[in-house]
Symmetry: C2
Subunit: 245 residues, 2 copies
């Protein structure tokens, strides 16, 4: 058994434990064999979001299949931050980038939200999921974010959990900055947070009103600069993570 850390990391859905055997699906087997040129006897790392990260030895690999023998646990599962990102879908390259960066920054749930000024009418969940798994594999995350079906803003608010604050990134003047809001929250008994970023055109007046009327909403300002939607999302996520470390 090698003691160096395997370079390749894959996300799997099966349980991981001692003396287990894992059969990989066709796409991952193909990736290992043809893209990474992995051979029998080599080691990779596996994680599933529950059982930590495991070293696995390739016991056999062929056309569309690979069988791995689990060795030892490299990392125990970590408790990850409970932070959701609710966002209005944006164009393809920018949404890919957003998913990748939000995954690296440790977001626990990605929730597309349809609004009045949302440009994209269709969200390819399969694609977003593949992107986020790839980003988790390439960072050292031990989980992948949950990716939810797109929902309307009204639907989101109607079913909003009572124990989660909704940090509404408000482009209009007057909202407090994240630093001040985070300082207040240290005494709060809410268990989780969500960041909500609107589309490039912002929210319409009606949407703003139902947001401001909702009991979970806290308006926050991201400062004086005009940021694109995906930049605003990443700025809010990284600042919030730094403030609530």
């Amino acid at each position: 058994m090698s003691l160096s850390k395997p370079k390749i990391r894959l996300f799997v859905t099966e349980p991981l434990g001692s003396n287990g055997i894992i059969g990989l699906p066709a796409d991952q087997s193909h990736y290992l064999r043809h893209v990474m040129r992995v051979k029998t006897g080599e080691e990779i790392a596996l994680f599933n979001g529950k059982d930590g990260e495991w070293r696995a030895r390739v016991d056999g690999i062929g056309k569309g299949w690979a069988s791995l023998e689990l060795q030892d646990q490299i990392h125990a599962q970590r408790i990850e931050s409970d932070l959701w990102l609710c966002f209005a879908p944006i164009k393809r390259t920018r949404i890919d980038f957003l998913i990748e960066k939000a995954t690296e920054l440790g977001v626990s749930r990605l929730q597309p939200v349809m609004t009045q000024f949302t440009n994209s009418t269709r969200v390819n969940l399969h694609r977003l999921k593949a992107r986020s798994i790839e980003a988790a594999e390439q960072s050292e995350r031990l989980s992948v974010p949950e990716i939810c079906e797109a929902i309307s803003l009204e639907g989101l608010l109607a079913t909003w959990p009572g124990d989660r604050e909704l940090l509404f990134c408000d482009e209009r003047h007057g909202a407090r900055g994240l630093v001040a809001v985070a300082a207040d929250q240290s005494a709060s008994d809410r268990s989780g947070y969500a960041i909500l970023i609107g589309p490039e055109g912002g929210f319409d007046d009606g949407e703003r009103q139902i947001l401001l009327d909702h009991p979970a909403t806290i308006s926050v300002s991201l400062g004086p600069r005009i940021l694109r939607a995906e930049t605003a999302a990443l700025a809010a996520l990284s600042t919030w993570q730094a403030l609530t470390l």
Copy 2:
């Protein structure tokens, strides 16, 4: 004169003031005429990093030329944050993205730094400059960041200005977070800050040592997550901006 804000914004190097006439260079004239289909009589906005933002009326436009008549000042020049980003060059799509986002986030200088583990050996300054101007035009920034020639880490430290703190984003454990460091700095008499992000492989031991030995260096941690170089840069920039608003 229209009172709505022009949708097109262009960065120019000439002075802007009342009753002025501006002739645009061929590339910008071409862009206005063939990409944006702008016609005589229409208005665009101009900024130069010094004189605020001005409304300008197209007085004539043709093959490779455009003549604009300055109208009124839409925004006075703002004082922008004095924050540098020193970064080891990364691959093309990722560096483009980094330049765009750092520009939106208000960075004042972009300084490529060559290190032991830097993958790219050549930096196309012309390309980086074009990217940052485009990002400034598309956000509402009134200036463009200064883009410097690439320099070695040793060269950077040897000529480092005495009144600027160097926030060295250190991947090893033990450094304090940005929140704690920012709290200390409120009493400091340094006038500016720079964020330094290493290449994907990190700094080598010798480089780390000369960094830690330099009087301007403050080691900072970006938290428990493993971030790609460009994600780390943006997380540090946005958090620092939020903390020092």
